[in-house]
């Protein structure tokens, strides 16, 4: 390896790349982050900033989410400045049958260590006074939190820079440097960058970066819209969403799914999601989706009917066929690590992803067994 090589080149300046850069730089590695766009210019800048344990049934993703939510709590102190809010999540069901399903999901999550509080219909108003009174009940997840995702990425990158990392935006990866079967760096629009390890944290574009290295990682876009209201006082305390959201997240249907997700922000605006569609990178505003989101939000919080929407944005969640992210070294291209495909949970899972990658690069035992997230798992 040439002497001017970085220990680690991270491809992608979104929240996952930022967390990876931070943990790698903190453990003493020389790090260079490259992004063809700007800081947090992709999916990171298009989400709500959720750090959720509530929406995941027991399994590999919940394990990752639990590790990550603890790490985010630490990052809020160690790095800070990104509006970390341990507001908790409230999942509500509109029918008794839905409530039963929700309660049994909560019970199984509790067995893995997730804190849950079952809230009968009559007590919902104590937690969320503006909720429609017609619900069957809910479950409160005190462990759910929120950050301002762009600030989180920018602050982590800034902290990494303070430890010597370089962040180069507007630099596009065009290929890989090879030495035998090994990947030894990236070719970019600004010249070659040799490195001991390359981390593919390119989010939705992770599949394209992988293909430049000659390996297949099936990451595809799943479009979502978010409505933003006028600035308001705090009228929604938690992240509040309908139980159907969990099923929508896990759905393999390409068609549109919408389920109400409503939450306030430190800035005063309320964010309203969530829609899921597989329509490639179509950026066209879908009035049909916006109407569905608005109708569901008003059904959940009737007080919102008279509140103005002042903005809408769309983003593309990077999803894999089994809805698990791709995390770990790629045995098909030694030297290459993947940290992408987090679908709609990228902010929440970023901290754990970055830490695990940094540990793997250092040759340490990772905090969590990464076998479920291995990149070659899709090979026939």
């Amino acid at each position: 390896m040439p002497t001017d090589a970085a220990d680690v080149v991270v491809v992608g300046a979104g929240v996952v790349g930022a967390a990876t850069a931070w943990y790698a730089a903190r453990s003493g590695r020389s790090v260079t982050v490259v992004d063809r766009g700007s800081v947090a210019g992709g999916t990171t800048g298009a989400g709500e900033g959720n750090i959720l344990v509530s929406d995941k049934p027991p399994g590999a993703e919940l394990d990752l989410a639990r590790l990550s939510s603890g790490l985010w709590r630490e990052l809020a102190v160690e790095v800070g400045g990104f509006e970390y809010d341990a507001k908790g999540g409230l999942v509500v069901a509109s029918t008794p049958a839905g409530f039963d399903t929700l309660v049994s999901l909560a019970a199984s999550q509790r067995d893995t260590g997730v804190e849950t509080v079952v809230v009968p219909a009559g007590e919902l108003a104590e937690h969320e006074p503006h909720l429609t009174p017609s619900l069957a009940g809910g479950v409160l997840y005190p462990g759910d939190a929120q950050v301002q995702p762009m600030l989180a990425a920018a602050r982590l990158l800034r902290a990494a820079r303070a430890k010597g990392a370089q962040v180069r935006t507007g630099v596009e990866v065009t290929g890989f440097l090879r030495s035998g079967g090994r990947v030894t760096g990236v070719r970019t629009s600004a010249g070659d960058l040799p490195a001991g390890a390359i981390v593919n944290a390119a989010g939705t574009w992770g599949g394209e970066v992988a293909s430049l290295a000659g390996v297949d990682v099936p990451v595809l876009p799943r479009r979502g819209f978010i409505l933003v209201t006028e600035p308001l006082p705090r009228i929604v305390r938690h992240k509040v969403y309908a139980a159907e959201y969990v099923a929508d997240v896990a759905s393999d249907d390409a068609d549109l799914q919408t389920s109400p997700v409503v939450e306030g922000t430190e800035a005063g605006t309320i964010l309203i999601g969530a829609s899921r569609e597989r329509v490639g990178y179509d950026r066209t505003l879908s009035v049909r989706v916006l109407r569905a989101l608005a109708a569901q939000a008003v059904a959940l919080f009737p007080v919102l009917a008279g509140v103005q929407v002042i903005r809408a944005y769309r983003g593309f969640r990077p999803y894999c066929p089994d809805h698990l992210p791709v995390i770990g070294p790629d045995p098909r291209a030694p030297g290459l690590y993947h940290a992408c495909g987090h679908e709609g949970a990228g902010i929440g899972l970023a901290a754990a992803t970055g830490r695990l990658i940094a540990q793997l690069i250092d040759g340490e035992d990772p905090d969590l067994d990464v076998t479920p997230y291995r990149p070659e798992r899709f090979e026939a």
């Binding site: 969320e128 006074p129 503006h130 006028e230 600035p231 308001l232 006082p233 705090r234 009228i235 305390r237 005063g268 007080v303 008279g306 509140v307 103005q308």
Partner: protein
């Protein structure tokens, strides 16, 4: 005798076709809103519905652009604090 609307308890005259904001300016009222963070006074700035600085509560509906809302007889116009929806806070 010209038409009037009520602004914070007093009568403000206007002539047909004027906006609430214009009638307030004509009556010597320069501001009718305070900002959410610093509590700074605001009134008309752009006058054509672009800047949203002149937000005001008209007939209990907050956040209306005074420079666009036509003045009407008997309307109850109130100055507005912050987001204008403080009563909804929980």
């Amino acid at each position: 005798m010209s038409a009037r609307f009520e602004f914070d308890g007093r009568a403000v005259p206007f002539s047909e076709g004027q906006t609430v904001g214009a009638a307030l300016v004509a009556a010597g009222v320069r501001s009718w809103r305070t900002t959410r963070r610093e509590g700074r006074p605001r009134g008309v700035f752009c006058g054509i519905g672009i800047c949203f600085d002149c937000l005001v509560t008209v007939d209990d509906v907050p956040n209306q652009r005074a420079c666009l809302v036509p003045a009407s007889s008997g309307a109850i116009v109130r100055s507005q604090e912050g987001d204008g929806r403080g009563h909804l806070a929980v």
